[in-house]
């Protein structure tokens, strides 16, 4: 009889000992958590892409519940998720502003000069490590790291050597933005109709020498719309597109190198 009782008693005693330890530890170490966080996290897309500005879906859920983010802060989930989140929190979901990725370079094969023949691994990352294939060290190299990073089949590499973004498929998750070693892609509201198509920080003559479509920081666009556009590091930067008066756009588009202006059909579609 004791052979039978001993192991049972021993394991029961050990079990009680450890569970008592865990209960004590739980009391000390418990993390108070709002049950809403779990429910919000459940309706999110779980892409953990970081497009909301938080480190993942869970972090976003916490921020929303604590009131640090808006219910419509998840660009990937779009309106549906925003409504669900708002329903859980019992607030009104604001109108979601659809964003898309845009390419800040017009250095096509024709416009930007090649530096030499690059025969290395054909990814942008690898090419960037050795200085790239083009003379411009800021422009798109065209090896399509962004296209491969896209989870939503919204990007293609165009014949001119620049990625083409399909607006209707782009969810603004920002994967391509992270994938680009030269930071050429950026998320912008779909409604923003004017952009700077250059990242070159080279001085004007140098920039122009290596690429026909480089911003040479001449300042024509700044004079046309001084509230909205400024020059930073030899490059025009749109600070606030909402301040651009539509009447000024023809003036801005007098850009001698075509590096600022409205999107053309061949930039994005």
């Amino acid at each position: 009889m004791t052979e039978l009782l001993m192991p049972i008693l021993t394991m029961t005693a050990l079990g009680f000992l450890f569970s008592a330890g865990l209960v004590l530890a739980y009391k000390k170490l418990r993390v108070e958590e709002d049950p809403k966080i779990e429910r919000v996290a459940d309706v999110l897309p779980q892409a953990n892409c970081g497009a909301c500005g938080f480190s993942g879906c869970r972090a976003f859920a916490e921020a929303v519940v604590h009131g640090e983010a808006e219910a419509n802060g998840c660009p990937v989930g779009g309106d549906d998720v925003a409504q669900d989140v708002a329903a859980i929190l019992g607030v009104q979901a604001g109108k979601i502003i659809k964003k898309v990725a845009r390419v800040h370079c017009r250095g096509t094969h024709e416009a930007a000069k090649n530096r030499g023949l690059y025969l290395g691994i054909s990814t942008c990352y690898a090419s960037h490590l050795v200085g790239g294939n083009k003379q411009c060290s800021y422009g798109c190299m065209g090896y399509g790291d962004c296209v491969r990073a896209c989870l939503f089949d919204a990007m293609d590499m165009g014949e001119e050597g620049l990625p083409i973004i399909r607006e209707e498929k782009c969810t603004a998750c920002g994967k391509c933005v992270d994938a680009c070693p030269r930071n050429i892609l950026e998320l912008h509201p779909l409604s923003q109709n004017i952009l700077v198509f250059c990242r070159s920080e080279d001085r004007g003559p140098m920039a122009r020498k290596v690429c026909k479509n480089a911003c040479i920081a001449c300042g024509i666009c700044v004079r046309a719309s001084p509230d909205a556009i400024v020059l930073e590091k030899n490059l025009a930067v749109i600070k606030d597109y909402k301040k651009i008066d539509p009447a000024n756009i023809p003036e801005i588009e007098k850009c001698p190198t075509d590096s600022i202006g409205r999107l053309r059909v061949d930039d994005d579609r």
Binding site: P7, T10, L14, G21, L22, A25, L29, S55, T123, A126
Partner: protein, 191 residues
């Protein structure tokens, strides 16, 4: 001197991952980035050291005196499961980002055969208390070493021209195999 030999043996010669082939799941699962590999290594080292201590106490104070050696596996599972729960609570409290980064692999330490193997091997070798502590800590360091090396190689592999069909798990397993061969070269160190 005996302790140093046990430590070196656990880290290099009889490395848990590359000699016993235990704990392969996190070894392949969390070795994509060096940061999370280091965190995983630290978590496993922590659990391994404490498991070694507690399982030694149970084995030598309860199981052996009462002639209950056959309860080893069951009671060690109990120890490991409770300890992982404890570590999980602890990490969640201290560092939520680390908790996020380890993700599912943290609870999976519970079922990590490296931990179980450690407790059983220590009992099998009849190590003294000090030896057990050194063995547990050394094994954890050995695991960390292996997983961090692997993560370093895999980060470089992202830039390499790997044949299409070998990408991902395929090349990872080949690398692990070559690493295991290399580590087997340490066998001559302790004879």
């Amino acid at each position: 001197m005996e302790l140093v030999a046990i430590f070196i043996s656990a880290v290099l010669v009889q490395n848990f991952v590359l000699y016993y082939f235990l704990g392969i799941c996190p070894f392949l699962g969390v070795s994509k980035k060096i940061d999370s590999a280091v965190s995983m290594g630290i978590a496993v080292t922590f659990v391994m050291t404490i498991t070694a201590v507690v399982s030694w106490l149970i084995n030598n104070l309860i199981l052996i005196p009462y002639d209950l050696g056959y309860l080893q596996i069951v009671s060690f599972i109990l120890v490991i499961a409770s300890l992982v729960q404890l570590v999980e609570m602890f990490i969640r409290k201290i560092s939520p980002p680390l908790y996020q980064a380890l993700g599912i692999y943290l609870p999976l330490i519970t079922t990590n055969c490296a931990i179980m193997g450690l407790a059983l091997i220590a009992a099998l070798n009849e190590y003294s208390f000090a030896e057990t502590v050194v063995f547990g800590f050394g094994s954890g360091i050995g695991f960390t070493l292996a997983i961090v090396l692997m993560a370093g190689i895999r980060e470089q592999l992202d830039l390499a021209d790997v044949p299409e069909h070998l990408k991902g798990a395929g090349i990872a397993l080949i690398v692990a195999g070559i690493m295991a061969l290399a580590f087997n070269g340490f066998i001559g160190m302790l004879t």
